[in-house]
Symmetry: D2
């Protein structure tokens, strides 16, 4: 985790305090369930809840772990210091450490997913607002970085909205992938603990019981989770690249918001760097890099090996923290992106109407000119634009051969931008469904 790329709410999910709190809840709920089953005395289960408002002392637990070399035992020892060692003697009975660790990890991932989902909803709101704002702001569409046909800035925002809306669905699916818990013992057979305990604990923690676990919860779930985050991050990169292109000096159709006070802004007004979206491009790589190790974590030996653990200690917090930060940063960028409609028009007209050459070509053939002749007509006028800086429409209007096929009005019509934007409403209805 890099502090500068993190936000406190997500960081808190991964703090030792939160972890121990979740461990505590798992153990306490498990005791309740065991008491209900008559496996342990009700009084002992009740006693565990005495620690309900305790904030566990991480330093003290670390101290105990330094001796016991076992994190869960260290925690249980510390818990007994609060609950009383006799009262606590049934805590964790029949359970294996992974029951606690894996269920806790999934609680953390689920909470992380909730934040990411909320982040995404915030991003969608920003994208939608900007899409509506610029629904009719015409800019040139580009393929291969080369001018193609006009489109609108609203369509650009709308397609990012649609992409992120799919990512919202993916995040929800990802959340459900890892929203399971397991309290099933050393190899998953419930030999020493009743399945009812798992059911109770999961219900209390908002998880589904894992239908079949071994010592651990199967890791294909986590692989699917991190793969989904990788897709989301690639979409972030997609938007970031678009903005970086729009901000480059020669294009300048948009700029990341640059506060008035920001140093150097007015002595070098040309030097406003799209550092946020460049940063997002890098953050996308960081999120994405968790996908392969998460996939490699799936194939564990027999009922479990612990190779996945060190990977998850890293990618669990780092990937969710980075993605949370990235989504939030992107939302800010979108919210305050400065759009330059005039520059959009200027860019579109850079080659003085040449982007309409294909429409003119089509119109000529539809007017009965042979394909070869039509091509020659367009070509000779296009070349005057390209080489001598003439205006395409003006040239066409002055070309007698062209005028034989098309009226001045018809030629004018080929340069009408409304032709290109006539289905924008239709597309918006499809995307925003309202």
């Amino acid at each position: 985790m890099i502090p500068r790329y993190s936000r406190p709410e997500m960081v808190a999910i991964w703090s030792p305090e939160t972890k121990f709190r979740i461990w505590y809840e798992i153990e306490a709920h498990a005791c309740d369930a065991m008491a209900d089953l008559g496996v342990i005395p009700r009084a002992n289960a009740d006693a565990v809840w005495k620690a309900k408002d305790v904030e566990f002392d991480v330093a003290r637990i670390d101290e105990i772990e330094a001796v016991t070399k076992h994190d869960v035992i260290a925690f249980l020892t510390h818990l007994a210091e609060h609950v009383g060692s006799d009262e606590a003697r049934f805590v964790h009975q029949g359970m294996t450490s992974s029951d606690v660790l894996d269920t806790c990890f999934n609680v953390q991932l689920t909470r992380a997913a909730d934040i990411l989902i909320a982040d995404m909803e915030g991003l969608l709101a920003a994208l939608k607002r900007r899409a509506l704002e610029h629904k009719d702001t015409v800019r040139i569409g580009r393929s291969h970085g080369i001018h193609a046909e006009p489109t609108t800035m609203g369509l650009t925002f709308a397609r990012f909205y649609a992409e992120m809306d799919r990512n919202l669905t993916r995040l929800r699916v990802a959340r459900s992938e890892i929203a399971t818990g397991a309290i099933s013992g050393a190899v998953g057979t419930f030999a020493n603990i009743d399945p009812a305990v798992e059911e109770h604990v999961c219900r209390k923690l908002g998880l589904e019981p894992e239908p079949i676990s071994t010592q651990v919860i199967p890791r294909d779930r986590h692989a699917a989770f991190f793969a989904a985050l990788g897709v989301v991050s690639s979409s972030i990169e997609n938007i970031a690249i678009e903005i970086r292109h729009m901000q480059r000096t020669e294009v300048l159709e948009a700029e990341e918001f640059f506060s008035a006070g920001q140093k150097g802004s007015s002595a070098m007004p040309h030097k406003r760097n799209p550092v946020l979206t460049e940063n997002l491009t890098g953050l996308a790589r960081l999120v994405r890099m968790s996908v392969v190790p998460a996939l490699e974590n799936v194939a564990l030996w027999h009922e479990r090996d612990i190779s996945h653990s060190s990977v998850e200690r890293n990618i669990g917090p780092d990937t969710t923290i980075t993605l949370d930060f990235a989504l939030s940063r992107l939302t800010g960028v979108i919210d305050r992106l400065v759009i330059y409609p005039d520059n959009m028009l200027a860019n579109m007209n850079k080659f003085r109407g040449l982007v309409m050459s294909q429409r003119v070509l089509l119109a000529l053939t539809q007017a009965g000119v042979s394909r070869e002749d039509a091509y020659k007509l367009v070509q000779r006028n296009a070349m005057k634009v390209w080489e001598d800086g003439k205006d395409f429409k003006t040239e066409l209007l002055g070309d007698a051969d062209v005028l034989r096929a098309l009226s001045a009005e018809q030629i004018e019509e080929k340069f009408d931008l409304g032709y290109h934007t006539k289905h924008v409403d239709t597309i918006f209805k499809r995307v925003f469904k309202d």
Copy 2:
């Protein structure tokens, strides 16, 4: 694509013949829709269907492409050779090459997904059959490659079933991710073509219209598709690793089926290599390697660049063909896997009852022995087993201090395998839901 790791049905999806057939259908359906809209004459639309039963001549199209340097134009030229050049003159009107290419690619991926889904259903059937067959076949559960507590072979199959059942869901989601088409023109604005054409073509091809496209269908969809395949392949690796472990000489709890006639089998009966599951381990890596480039493909420049194309020409066929082969091979391995229950028992008893030491420890403390004393009692008997090869239960039954806490009957009970398998039915009900 490696021929030896491919199956004809999936290969056929990626043949030029199939591709041209799909292109043809896209163009023909588009003409129909345009005729319905009154944009082109009905007769011209009808004429295109004259080629309905034509098998397009790939060599001829290649020949034309060598001249035109454009694959779609080459195809259209060839189509006109069948339909008549006058009749064909409205084909592709208002469309851009990507309308055809992208929609076709998604048709191919959708069909590929259908095969993968069927493969997965076949694998699930095999896993379920073997799970039921070996529901009560006891074997030792292992964590860290070390004996832990007993489980059953049926549970092993059942957990693979549950994992692959999740993968079936992922494949279905993946299929829906890429089951869209787009006929929206050069930058996705429908400037030259009515959205109704897209709707008609998509309906005919079993796709949803892409709500908003640019020149291309957004690539987050494909990223999600290949990411899902990566998860599936990692689960294949997971099963493959389990079988490779079971077949290793010292374990020998299972073997890949080895036909009687296979050379060397009986002169070196110990040398039956798990080559199929080793191969599956490698194939999993091959499938997985498509995930990163698919993620890198998401961020295209503006309304499209063509960097994704060469990647997809490779991973489209290669990944689906390899995964199809792998799923099929794995199904065969599971179907015919030779299970050795006797070896399972022998392995479990390798340390003569020591795997039960934890149960004994627990029983002693529950019987009122202090934790320290209980530990010492277990330890001194365990050491006789470990160092002198004694039998654990026999030693316990001969230890007067132990017998003071536990009756012989109680000790015997701790070695009862039924204790470990008592919830197998419950788990099976969860997994197989019937």
Copy 3:
């Protein structure tokens, strides 16, 4: 392998014919060495060379393999059909299949590396030529896509040269990584074959004997090989991205060569797409995707498992063929890249001298103006440029406060491009070392 992205010489390395030829040479040289050692009769070794000019019949070998289910045995059987079954009876004696397969694979990789090295030398020659040609062609240097300070096109080519020169070194190291052979038997102990055989065969094939092998040559070598190719491909992407930027409509400082006859070039002169460099961007991803599976291939079980094999059947040919094609294509692009110096100047002047604002700021402070005042002076003139389209130098020359600190001559000097190019020769000497 995608045929359109492949070149015959590299493809030939991976043909079955080449493979069998190499197998033959390994076996024949091994017989020679065994005869020298007196292990087999000289006559039998000599007899094997009878097949020296045979082109092995791939179909026939496949036919035999369909029966024997073993590729090396099938080949040996076919070889015996040429050499005579009695004469051939000592062929392969004491060897294991992997001795042939692994040594052959490394011969193929070595030859592939030779082609890649030659490709790189060709690319370097092109880069150097263009660097010298455009040593003094001034263009604006950009950070963050934003104009920074002037540089020259020659420096751009020179830095690509330097990067590719490092890649040449990496390719040479990569070649030496995999230029080893092993003829060491089933587990690498030379139990059934003398190490002298390995030495002889390796010497004849231009390889080093692997100091210690198991059944296979260790795969860290291959991992390092493919990792190096991944680095090379990322450098290809680096150059491709630069060119794609230069060709985008608003920049237009360079274009991929576009032959006069290429369709559409003159009717839509603005629509020349950088499709070759976009393609190279995708090919870079394809090459790079072999790195992870190659790394995953390193950890084999004990003296070998065969999980690496299916991976290598794919990435061996595909990665080298793709990289060869990419290097060749890039060389063509560089060789014929059309450079537009006028556009470079026009772009640099897009903001009428503002890129020099930092130099002016520095000059003012050096002339004794306080940092704050200097900033204000620059700012008020910069704003007139930015907002009203004035020329920066003109404004400065008309600003009395500025003129109090700097003479007109000094101001002029700040706009002298020679200031920025004065060390170009020094850098060229460092890069080209001549």
Copy 4:
């Protein structure tokens, strides 16, 4: 960075204190060089060295950065607080932030590489010691996890030595890849700073001047660096997997050292988990995951974009810290690995001599028995071993048909382990070159 997987010396390289110290040295040396060139007054250069023994106040610098939003400016401001703001006024003159940041990063990577190289030398020493110790400790070699032919534990260690020795070379090459510095200004043209400054600073810091840089040092260098680390980590995984296999219950040929006091060791002596090597398997994945983003970092836009930066803030420290920890942990594991030669023999004899069946087969054919007959002879005796648990050699010695071809002595000889170990010395000489 995960604290539990880190060691202080490597962590210290990445502390803010170290970073600021390096920045200081770069700036101070640059001032010296500028004074030598007469560009700035000598007194000002000397003044900077007043801060030579200062430990920079990270909190204070952070405080300033909170205002200036720029890390290098914040540092320079703080430096001026020590040196005096007038004396410090030439510090950083003509330089760009990246000159400091990139050169510092490479100093850090170089130091990190030095630690990794020392780690590797330590590991090599441990591997060599254990190789010599177990040079003649016979164990079964395995292919596909199946018994093949005998080898020795010393050969296992020796091949890991050879692999890690190659990795030592790779680390040294990797170090030289990133041991460069650049002080070349905003776009690498040395417009505002003499190349002599770069040369001086680099010499003082033990770096080579980057022959040609832009605003940044080219990132192919860093890609090659992290790729090398990825290869090293895969070799770590290779050794880890071997040990995990050796420790699994059914094999038990080795165990990670388990201190006498470690809880649970003697009450459950069978339950010693190879947790260190499992952990190393996961750490290898963590190291490896930096390779792809490092490759993706190579293609920067024009003279630089800052997308690489966030990636490097993570993988710079995390990858080197993790690899350092992993190498150190592995060295400890190797140093203290408990080897069980008796179990090795017991495993080898698990199938009572069957592993020698191939030698017997060969001997029979060499003695003139036809291939078919030899096969049958071996097969019928092998089957008695496989199915009835007989001893292979005993059966052969009792088979009259076998005895017709081979004398009892010859049969005995086929079971001689010396046959398999006769070239161990030769191999050791190749590997250890002494």
